[in-house]
């Protein structure tokens, strides 16, 4: 299968100013991430808040500058391109945000929101644009005459549909979905997930699906990567990862999900820790302060991402 997106050793560090003459320190939001996404497939990126998953998506789209690494999109390294050279790639890469209320301009009508990518990336006439907007709206399951309305007139699910229509407007190949359903109610969440699934089938879209909900990620992804403190701790095909999670952190995440059954209540989780702040970065394996299986080696030397089974990678000494 063709690889659409290939990321090698990507690092996104944000400088922290400590003082005029003091050395600049860095917050290593993304610290050496690598993965490939084949055409038409979905990679799910899971992690707690602050793990760097959102920054991965934004770095790929060059919304934040990368510190090092390579982002190869359809054969071209995006990180070496100038802004002008980047423009044709921007048409092919889009993003859907978590909170549709914050990502839609409240003073623009639905038509002008969806028209923006068309104005930038296409040379459609006024009339053609209008027809295209109507087509996009019906594609996401909305009535075309909604285009004259404003975002506040819609419910959360409908707003997310507008956000999806905007992302589809420029006919992209690749979409970063940054927590697209976590702000929605369950009954609506299911509709949006189904819609995104259908669109992927129809248009052969490739997704990077960023979420913290493991059940949603399982439903939606072909392959899953688990992130912690800017690094991928485990990556595998979905069925493999969910059947056989190897990293202690992945296991903790699974055990923390509330089960939808009342047969027996779980014991409190074995992991007493919390997502750490970046200031308190540990030596050795980033996860060792919370890990109940940590050994002396884990405290001193960071493990590498190792191949353990067919397309199953783990960053752990055990």
């Amino acid at each position: 299968m063709d690889t659409l997106l290939s990321i090698k050793n990507m690092k996104t560090w944000f400088p922290i100013r400590t003082g005029l003459f003091k050395p600049t320190r860095y917050l290593r939001a993304v610290d050496g991430v690598e993965f490939d996404i084949p055409k038409g497939r979905t990679l799910g990126l899971v992690g707690e808040s602050g793990s760097g998953k959102t920054t991965v998506g934004r770095t790929i789209l060059r919304l934040v500058p990368a510190h090092a690494g390579r982002v190869r999109f359809d054969g071209t390294d995006l990180l070496t391109l100038g802004d002008r050279q980047m423009l044709p790639f921007r048409r092919r890469m889009q993003i859907i945000f978590q909170d549709p209320m914050l990502s839609l301009n409240p003073r623009m009508t639905v038509a002008s929101i969806i028209a923006e990518p068309l104005l930038v990336h296409t040379s459609l006439s006024r009339r053609e644009r209008k027809a295209r907007i109507a087509e996009l709206l019906s594609q996401v399951g909305m009535q075309p005459d909604y285009m004259r309305r404003y975002p506040h007139e819609f419910s959360g699910g409908q707003r997310q549909r507008i956000g999806i229509a905007r992302a589809l407007a420029s006919n992209p190949d690749f979409i970063v979905c940054d927590e697209p359903v976590s702000a929605l109610d369950v009954s609506v969440q299911a509709q949006i997930l189904n819609l995104m699934n259908d669109l992927q089938d129809q248009m052969g879209l490739t997704f990077l699906f960023i979420a913290h909900n493991l059940a949603v990620v399982e439903y939606f992804s072909d392959e899953v990567a688990v992130m912690y403190q800017g690094k991928i701790l485990e990556r595998a095909d979905r069925d493999e990862l969910y059947a056989n999670p190897l990293h202690p952190y992945t296991q903790t995440l699974f055990s923390a999900i509330p089960r939808m059954t009342v047969e027996k209540r779980k014991a409190p989780p074995a992991d007493p820790g919390e997502p750490p702040t970046f200031a308190a970065r540990a030596q050795g394996c980033a996860y060792h302060p919370r890990c109940h299986q940590a050994q002396s080696q884990c405290r001193t030397t960071p493990p590498e991402l190792t191949h353990v089974a067919d397309n199953h990678w783990v960053r752990c000494w055990k």
Binding site: S49, S155, V188, Y219, F254, A256, I257, R259, P275
Partner: protein, 350 residues
């Protein structure tokens, strides 16, 4: 009727006067909570679950809010008739509340300790020193490993999970009879959520306290609640013991909610979504408020009973006339299980 109930909410109606007209946020809600029981109120955003809690605590902005009818009997006394002064003696001392986002409900300019001591000094009339000792003790009880440091820390210095623990410490410092927890874990990561839920359960059992847990997450209900009420469009549509509800939900809305949640290990199927969207409070449909989205009434309409045509978001559909015209009251189906649906099995229509 069993009157061991710690709190009994009867026919509660809370309306808001808005430019678009009267908004019925809570429209005739009944339930009770027994001592030492964890009772969950589940529903999607806008169904009225938080307004129910705010009405019990009487912390609604009035106007535009207005408690139009009902009684809230707490240990037999109607809180809705209490003066503001009397309510102040109830809040924090007998009924406490914790909120979704601890950062917005803790005061950023006071230390955590000061915010816990405030309640202790007010309600238990302790001196500054005794209150501080009590606050540190409380912080230790909610599982904070360094309670002394935490006592002197400001909220922004703590993580989300720690802040929620501080909130719980403040809420429980006066040993209330009841805790209202409004989406206590929604803003937290899953691992932290599991810790906070088990903390609430442990403290609840230790103090034999009742908990009103407000959430949109059925997983959280399964983990914590003894009994559940499901709310839809300002009303309770089903109430049951948690076990019963999870085994055999009766209301089509509840069934739809269960089906729509993605669960581990079920990814091969298409998600059965509930059609349409939650109606807005000033556009509630007539009859049963769920009939515009209800799969059951459509199915029954095909079996040749009296039907009528309605227009939904996805076009015209046939539904049962009764569902579109009359609202079903909440009725007992069997012991410990009530439901408000004309077509639910066992629902006796008079």
């Amino acid at each position: 009727m069993n009157d061991n109930a710690l709190i009994r909410v009867e026919n509660m109606k809370t309306y808001f006067d808005t430019d678009e007209g009267e908004l019925r946020a809570v429209d005739g809600v009944d339930f009770h909570i027994e001592p030492g029981e964890v009772f969950a109120l589940v529903g999607e955003s806008g169904c009225g679950k938080s307004v129910t809690a705010y009405t019990i605590m009487k912390i609604l902005p009035c106007p535009p809010g207005r408690i139009a009818a009902g009684r809230v009997l707490f240990e037999g006394k109607d809180l809705l008739r209490y003066s503001e002064k009397q309510m102040q003696r109830v809040r924090g001392a007998q009924i406490s509340m914790i909120f979704q986002e601890p950062m917005t409900s803790l005061n950023p300019v006071f230390t955590c300790g000061a915010q816990i001591s405030e309640a202790i000094r007010l309600h238990r009339r302790l001196g500054a020193k005794a209150a501080k000792a009590e606050a540190i003790d409380m912080l230790a009880r909610v599982g904070i490993t360094e309670p002394r440091q935490c006592h002197d820390a400001y909220p922004h210095q703590l993580s989300g999970g720690m802040r929620q623990r501080v909130m719980i410490a403040a809420a429980l410092s006066c040993r209330p009879r009841m805790l209202i927890a409004d989406e206590p874990t929604t803003a937290l990561d899953v691992t932290t959520q599991a810790q906070i839920l088990s903390l609430i359960r442990t403290l609840q059992a230790q103090q034999n306290m009742s908990v009103l847990l407000i959430t949109h997450d059925l997983g959280v209900v399964a983990e914590t609640a003894d009994r559940v009420a499901v709310m839809y469009a300002s009303k309770v549509v089903e109430t049951a013991e948690t076990q019963m509800l999870f085994k055999a939900p009766l209301h089509p809305y509840t069934q739809g909610l269960f089906d729509a949640v993605p669960r581990l290990g079920r990814h091969h199927e298409r998600l059965p979504a509930i059609a349409g969207t939650v109606p807005r409070p000033w556009q509630f449909p007539s009859g049963c408020k769920f009939h515009t989205r209800c799969p059951l009434t459509r199915e029954k309409a095909r079996q040749g009973r009296e039907t009528q045509q309605i227009i939904t978001e996805s076009g015209p559909t046939k539904v049962l006339t009764r569902c579109a015209s009359a609202e079903p009251p909440l009725q007992r189906i069997h012991t410990g299980h009530q439901c408000a649906c004309w077509e639910a099995p066992g629902y006796a229509a008079e």
